[in-house]
């Protein structure tokens, strides 16, 4: 079992897996899943939603690493948290892009300001953009790591709290596919969706691992140079 999961801890293995899953997912999207009442443009669902959920997942992962940093003082956790949030921001941007395309097709506008769900996601996205501004305007060191970590924690609490806030006032047109009654879709659609979700998560994992490798290498080189000089 451990051997089976080993590729998941390895950037190259993850990258290969992600490629395969994306290929399968795309194929299923266009050849297996039935065409919805919405027509062909509904196909974007299989990318838009997994990408959005991946963004949340990476933000969550970043917060978890932040907690590890603050709590266990584990060296390296700060970097992991940073990289996770970086990935989250990339996927967040993709969510906005895919969502906007869909919105243009479905609602005829790139963006609806009246729609609190969308605006809220934009705010959260801006919140994480500020993470980078904050981080880069503090000198590298333990203080920066701590502040970044606290900020990441705040973010992951802000997300559910904000959604709770706007759900208090119920009237939004952004659809809800997963309700208390379970997913509102056909089995084949659900299967495709799950494959696409797995594809996005492995993609995010691969990118996360790759960036981490690069950053760690950077640090190593700097340390070595320090020893030599």
């Amino acid at each position: 079992m451990k051997k089976l999961l080993a590729p998941l801890d390895n950037a190259v293995g993850l990258a290969v897996l992600a490629t395969v899953l994306i290929a399968v997912g795309t194929a299923m999207t266009f050849f297996y899943a039935p065409v919805d009442v919405d027509g062909l443009n509904q196909k974007i669902f299989y990318f838009h939603v997994p990408i959005a959920l991946t963004a949340y997942a990476t933000f969550g992962w970043g917060a978890w690493k932040a907690l590890v940093h603050l709590w266990k003082k584990k060296p390296g956790a700060d970097l992991e948290s940073y990289v996770a949030i970086h990935q989250g921001t990339i996927f967040g941007a993709l969510t906005l892009i895919t969502g906007s395309i869909w919105a243009k097709l479905r609602w005829g506008h790139w963006w609806l300001w009246g729609e609190k769900e969308l605006v809220l996601f934009l705010i959260i996205f801006l919140f994480y953009c500020t993470y980078f501004m904050l981080r880069y305007s503090i000198e590298a060191g333990p203080r920066r790591a701590n502040i970044s970590a606290v900020y990441a924690l705040f973010g992951v609490i802000l997300i559910p709290i904000s959604f709770l806030a706007i759900r208090l006032a119920t009237n939004y047109i952004h659809p809800v596919a997963f309700t208390k009654q379970g997913p509102q879709m056909a089995g084949s659609q659900f299967a495709t969706f799950m494959v696409c979700l797995a594809a996005m998560w492995t993609l995010a994992g691969a990118l996360y691992r790759l960036e981490l490798l690069g950053k760690r290498l950077d640090l190593k080189i700097r340390e070595l140079r320090e020893l030599v000089l």
Partner: protein, 207 residues
Amino acid sequence: MADTASLPLVRAQGLSKRYGDKRVLSKLSFSLQSGGFLLVTGPNGAGKSTLLRLCAGLEGPTAGELEVGVERDELGYLGHEPLLYRELTALENLELFAKLYRVPERRDRIHELLERFGMWGERDNRISTYSRGMIQRVALCRVLLHEPRLLILDEPYTALDAAGCELLDAVLAERRGNHTFLVSTHDPARIEHLASDRLAFAEGAAT
């Protein structure tokens, strides 16, 4: 704490500090016994203030170990900044810190110190209206307020007039042996006779 006096109160082992690419302290090792007096000297930019800030816990080292065996309330640090609120009067500043440090018989203690440093008459004026030397005097009062076990003083003679310097001489001499000192200065001749240890930085930025 019977044998405190024989244990090192401050111990540095391979202590290094970098700012970005700039190496300020490298592989510094020393130890200071409880009751000792370490005189830190060296040219401008040598790293004296940096070392003192590290010992006070205001910054962390880049590498190496630094152990300082006192609690926060047993430490007194005087840096280049006076660490006084400029909008408050001398009395209000000292009251504030005396409360935070739980100084017993606060009022008497503050009176005594201000009197000694010649600032009692000015106690109700705001720090922002003081001259540079007057600020230094009040800063010294603040540091001595809770009679800390470890006194870290960065160029404490700065801005003092002749009388002020003599006063500080006396204050240091009185406490020598009971307290532990870490003092930096550009005029070592003045307090050499008090020092038990010496740390002389050789090169600075401006050499």
